[in-house]
Symmetry: none
Subunit: 222 residues, 4 copies
DNA sequence: TATGAATGAGCTTTCATTCAT
DNA sequence: TATGAATGAAAGCTCATTCAT
């Protein structure tokens, strides 16, 4: 990765190295030193480009996030709900296979869910809650919001998709789409993490179909 | 918590404080000093009782784990699959509401899934794999195994339940129960985490029923 | 050692355990906990009997020291210098084989020679010097004096012996006995430590004779 | 020492401070904080340069060791055995006067002789033994070996010298050179430690001659 | 712009000693 | 007299960040 120092710009090399190190170690345990060494740049360079460790992680995530968004938005709007559902789930599964640890870190560490924080949008503001009393400080909140916003943008696409499915009467009218879309989004993340272990023979495409099927029709005998 | 120093033994106070601090900070970022202060005991006392930070966390988790297991095993074996399913899911949801951050820490940090590790049992041994090359050291593996074993014991109960459902032909015969039970187990964890935020009006009982319904029959219009 | 708790008094058991632990670990690294466990007494008991770790070590050393002195003084005064020399050296070698680590700890750690301190008697007072500027504090000096006194008593016996040898004209009249007796005393300690490794076939008796021979006549070809 | 911060590089200042602190306190009781303060550098700097406390000590010792070796090897090979003996002993005495506490720490603490460990080379491997049952762990052994190797290199020079003396028939043919060279080597160390106290009037040169004389011909009246 | 030597607050853990029982 | 639970000061080491070059 770090060998072809001429092929990539310093910024790209840092991002590539950051991906590897954050994926190996998680966020807290990842060391800027390791990223520096792997990227084959000076330590100061990382700080020049990205300001600090957290912002480096954010930029890494943001870049991937936008690539995912682009793919998701590229799905042909005119297709049927079921076709779009399969296709978009495939994109999501495919993305997760490449970025699973990073996205787990994002969901667990960076949104503060490992500290009992959770947040949701109330109108145009984010509200924070906690299972244990202390709310995040203002600075912490600003950071958390950035990561919540990323996840929210991703979830929203599936939420809108499911709404469409409900309008098209494929999805039951009594279903509450909001939590349901979160179930789908985070549930697939868990499934991908386990798929890798137990179900390596199935292709991503087939897997996406299976998820759609189970999600829509359950596992009960017909 | 620390106020009622006479009501609880030092050991209990440490465990109570540990729960709060680990839930506030996750495992790595939790400081033994904070646990000590909150429990209102000397720092050495924690080490006398539990040996080190990791063992303290383990004892905390193990204690809760056994309480959960007891409840799950107390479900009347003679009831029908559907009754048992609802009842056990309710127990699991109920348990998670009380221990959600701790169990997220367990699943994410302590099993090393934040580092790309995953493990599964091959016969009577645990095998470790990683998305990024470095395997955990022997010592780390020993620690990981303890946490995997806890989760495995919990998942197994649901796996056996679903097998029963398959035998009773409530669950489709073509479903692969092994990954499916993991989906259920970890999926509910995710749902509970989001339920708290978006769906506070519904009772745990009702929620458990909803999960069963969606899991078995999906969300498609009938 | 600790098994026959009825055979020995608590005090004896502590001393026996202390010997083993100090010999295994040296003074600083020996843990009072280990002594307590091995002696099978409560930790407070050690402090009741001996006050603190240092005094426990001192009592241990002192007890052995007096046994050595008794043996050395029991040598028949009327024998010739050479006979007495051999006999006393044998006693010293024999004692060291049983107490080598303890006496190394005494010489190195407890006299502060590992800290560059050295002391000698000026009349009836001990004077302290150091290679590195800071003299030991008053309290430290008091402790050091106790250990220096023990070694001094032991060396003195050999010093007097060599003086006698000089009077009997077996030892050259130009030899300065004071440093020479220290050479003998500490040199034998070093030799015993190495004898154990390289020269196991020779008996202690033969070894004492060898030391006497080399000390008196050197190793040059005759 | 710390005053002339411009005269010495940080590395040199750390080594100088380490010498002083290890000489004042021995190895175990020396505090990295004190070295840091005395060297007037940040604590991390010590770890950047030397990795850890033990390696710092090792580098300190190794540096001195190589200087000693250079001097010892610089002795003219063509001189007679007796001339070389005097000259090399003078070098050794001279070296010890400057490094006595450090070399005592090396011999006593770092080789584990304060814990009853001793080691010797069997072919090309070091074998460990102990007076009290517990052998050092593998990691401890690796560290011990480094210090044993240093001492071994130094002793070996004297061993070879004495072998030469035996070939030249200056030393008795029945003498076992191996333990004898250890006696000389460690004995001189003891003597230097005591010389400083009792015999300051004699020069190092004269002292070296005296040791040679006593070692070869003993102290008996001729 | 790019560097990496230097920093020091902050972490986990140890262990001699105390003291209420 | 005997105990051992409890203590907390003190230790080695880490690593995000800075800043002179």
């Amino acid at each position: 990765m770090a060998e072809n120092t001429t092929e990539f710009s310093k910024r790209e090399r840092i991002l590539l190295a950051a991906e590897e190190v954050f994926s190996r170690q998680g966020y807290v345990q990842a060391k800027v030193d390791d990223i520096m060494t792997l990227a084959d740049v000076g330590k100061g360079t990382i700080y020049n480009y990205f300001g600090n460790k957290e912002q480096l992680f954010y930029h890494l995530i943001e870049e991937r996030h936008h690539k995912l968004l682009d793919k998701l938005h590229a799905v042909d709007k005119k297709k049927s709900f079921l076709e779009k559902f399969s296709e978009m789930l495939y994109i999501w599964v495919n993305f997760l296979e490449d970025n699973i640890v990073l996205w787990q870190v994002l969901v667990f560490e960076m949104t503060g869910s490992n500290k009992g924080y959770f947040a949701f949008r109330n109108g145009d503001k984010w509200e924070f809650h906690t299972s244990w009393g202390d709310l995040p400080t203002k600075e912490e909140q600003d950071i958390l919001v950035r990561y919540y916003s990323i996840l929210n943008e991703e979830v929203k696409i599936f939420e809108e998709l499911l709404c469409e499915g409900q309008k098209e009467k494929v999805i039951d009218k009594d279903i509450n789409i909001h939590p349901c879309s979160r179930d789908l989004f985070f549930g697939v993340m868990m499934r991908v993490f386990h798929l890798r272990k137990f179900n390596k023979t199935i292709t991503q495409k087939e897997y996406a179909e299976l998820v759609v099927k189970n999600f829509l029709y359950g596992i009960a005998a017909k």
